[in-house]
């Protein structure tokens, strides 16, 4: 039986169609949903320190805000070092320059309860936007008690936000929060594929025999590695413009790197064994050992360490703080869509493996044999470089170019993958059709069906 000629069933086609719809939805939402308003920068333009205290002139830059129409109010807060009580101060002399810039003044006594203040702007429509530790009161002394006049009443006059469906604004991350739908599902898909590979390797060892199980395992690893490398590349690009370096020392990154290395090792191991039966079994043993150890190392170890990734350093789960309802509404469909695409690619890769195996088998009978060796290219990004133009380019428009870059990496990566595999399938099918006689086919097939029962008998009697 040559299984590669079977067309996919209706259910499979329907699921794939669903996957494409989900991906279309994901991409549309990723790029079309607006980002909520937020504060980009708070600058102290001038400060005047006298015996009575300090007067500071602040320039506040927002992103996606509507200062000119929202009648903004500005206030700053700080938490008292000693009793943890919050002090609120209103800013005066508000001057709105345009929708995203405004000037204001704050007056502080000589002795203030904390040096560092959070800056808030409240306005109609935009609601309250903030910049943590945006204003540092230099030149004044800090003291636990200061007798500061408190403007707590501002908190009761705040205006509600009235915004369309939007992604939450996070300082520093800004527009690049959209990468959540592109970068993170790469890893989910990779884990799914490695899980498939694990299950197939388990079947190779438990049930033995059928070389098709081994082919499934290796096809899943190859597609999973592709997703892993895309995850590394996109993550590297995102990290450069949020954390400032192409690669940082972080348990999540170490884990990702180790995973990719382990599966690259899996392929190298396969490449270094000629005998198919031995290769099948050794690769399966290494796959199981590697996967289980990875689970221990990557699920347990990161909980003991701090990380730059959200939700780490204790509990690697999405907290409500990191993932709000708007993000969820796009993120979960995105994960599902990418996973369906991943399994589809797995099916294609499996088809390639089967075609190639059948062809090799047929050619072996005719005396020619060709070894296949795949060494995956691993791209290790170097440390941060200082590129002034790049800097300006990627920080523009609230880091939107980062999202575009990530999407381009994934798009190019997946396009290349599909181009390679469709071309390979065509070539293999042509080569198959070009094989001279029909005898070789039946011989190859009979060999397949022959050793399955034999091997099963072997497994039951170790």
């Amino acid at each position: 039986m040559i299984r590669h000629n079977e067309p996919p069933s209706f259910a499979v086609k329907a699921i794939r169609a669903c996957g494409l719809v989900l991906l279309a939805y994901t991409l549309a939402m990723t790029f079309l949903v607006p980002l909520g308003p937020g504060l980009d920068q708070v600058e102290v333009l001038r400060s005047q320190i006298t015996e009575q205290g300090g007067q500071y002139e602040l320039r506040i830059a927002g992103l996606g805000t509507h200062f000119s129409t929202s009648q903004p109010k500005v206030f700053i807060t700080a938490r008292n070092i000693l009793d943890g009580e919050q002090t609120v101060l209103s800013a005066t002399h508000l001057k709105v320059a345009d929708d995203t810039h405004l000037l204001c003044r704050v007056r502080l006594p000589k002795v203030v309860p904390a040096m560092s203040w959070n800056v808030y702007v409240n306005g109609a429509g935009d609601g309250t936007v903030s910049y943590a530790n945006g204003f540092y009161a230099t030149g004044l002394e800090a003291a636990p008690k200061s007798g500061l006049k408190d403007d707590k009443y501002v908190l009761s006059t705040l205006q509600e936000a009235d915004l369309p469906f939007h992604f939450p604004f996070q300082p520093n991350i800004m527009e690049s929060i959209r990468n959540l739908m592109l970068h993170v599902p790469m890893w989910f898909t990779m884990f799914l594929l490695m899980g498939i590979s694990f299950a197939q390797s388990l079947r190779v060892l438990r049930l033995g025999g059928n070389p098709d199980r081994d082919r499934r395992a290796v096809a899943a690893v190859k597609v999973g590695l592709w997703f892993g490398v895309l995850g590394l590349l996109t993550g590297s690009l995102w990290a450069r413009w949020t954390w400032g370096a192409w690669w940082v020392d972080d348990p999540q990154l170490n884990g990702a790197f180790v995973t990719v290395m382990v599966y690259a090792g899996y392929l190298v191991l396969r490449g270094s064994i000629q005998e198919p039966k031995l290769r099948e079994r050794l690769a399966a043993v290494y796959n199981l050992f590697g996967f289980l150890l990875l689970v221990v190392l990557l699920m347990v170890l990161p909980r003991f360490t701090e990380s730059l990734h959200p939700g780490k350093g204790g509990n690697p789960a999405f907290s409500s703080y990191d993932l709000d309802s708007a993000l969820r509404a796009v993120f979960y469909p995105a994960v599902l869509g990418w996973m369906i695409l991943g399994t589809w690619m797995y099916a294609v890769a499996l088809k390639v493996e089967r075609l190639r195996a059948n062809l090799d088998e047929a050619r072996t009978h005719r005396g020619s044999w060709r070894a296949q060796l795949m060494i995956p290219a691993l791209l290790l990004p170097a440390q941060a470089t200082q590129g002034g133009q790049l800097e300006a380019l990627f920080f523009a428009d609230g880091k939107m170019p980062v999202v575009v870059g990530v999407a381009v990496i994934i798009g190019v990566g997946l396009t290349v993958w599909w181009a390679i595999h469709l071309r390979r399938i065509r070539q293999l099918q042509l080569a198959w059709d070009a094989l001279p006689s029909t005898d070789t086919t039946s011989e190859a097939d009979s060999q397949f069906s022959d050793h399955t029962p034999l091997q099963d008998a072997d497994t039951t009697n170790p």
Partner: protein
């Protein structure tokens, strides 16, 4: 257990019969320490000392496990396959590797101390550091045993063991280096118990995995 111990004694006796194998490992470790001593010229700063120690231990460990024993000859293996239970064999092999690696760890520690000093370690923290090295040797030994057997089965030696093993032992090395770092910075010994527990769990886990998976490697075809 009796069979395991018998096999272990047998491997050890084979090792003793041709002592140059062990001597070669020891020479590698000592020569590496000496090369490091020549490069850093005297006392390195504690962080460098820590990193050097673990890296030397790591490479010595890879050397130690990827060596083939006399009984890895195909004829001997064919004989063993018919007579020995694979679980006893892998356990004996692990014990053998762990014994060698623990000895090498102590040798590395002693020579580092002799040539490069002990960084800031002394008393209980020094004992904890050496204990940590021994426990790391245990974790490395159990993890690398299966991998080196896979590599040996594939007909490749050191290179393949390193390719398969390095990524998997990287987290172990991360734990060990942070343990060493903490001890050198003067953290009290009882506060580093979590690292010891983690190394122990890793050794246990990879040992169990090896025992479960090895029988599939053992079969003839």
């Amino acid at each position: 257990m009796r069979h395991t111990l018998f096999l272990f004694r047998h491997m050890w006796r084979a090792e003793m019969k041709s002592k140059h194998g062990l001597a070669g490992l020891l020479l590698f470790a000592v020569a590496t320490v000496y090369a490091v001593y020549q490069v850093v010229q005297g006392r390195p700063d504690p962080e460098t000392w820590n990193a050097m120690t673990w890296v030397i231990l790591l490479f010595t460990a890879f050397n130690g496990v990827s060596r083939s024993l006399e009984e890895d000859r195909p004829e001997v293996l064919a004989y063993l396959r018919t007579t020995v239970n694979p679980i006893h064999y892998i356990l004996a092999r692990m014990m053998h590797h762990v014994a060698i690696l623990a000895g090498l760890a102590c040798a590395v520690a002693a020579f580092m101390g002799l040539l490069l000093g002990w960084a800031t370690l002394e008393g209980a923290r020094l004992a904890a550091f050496v204990g940590g090295m021994a426990l790391t040797a245990l974790a490395l030994g159990t993890t690398l045993t299966l991998l080196s057997l896979i590599a040996a089965r594939a007909g490749a030696g050191f290179g393949l063991t390193a390719i398969l093993g390095l990524p998997l032992v990287l987290p172990i090395v991360l734990v060990s280096t942070s343990l060493g770092d903490d001890l050198i910075r003067g953290v009290i010994v009882s506060d580093t118990a979590i690292y010891f527990a983690f190394l122990g769990v890793l050794a246990l886990g990879s040992g169990t995995l090896g025992v479960v998976l090895f029988p599939y490697l053992w079969r003839a075809s």
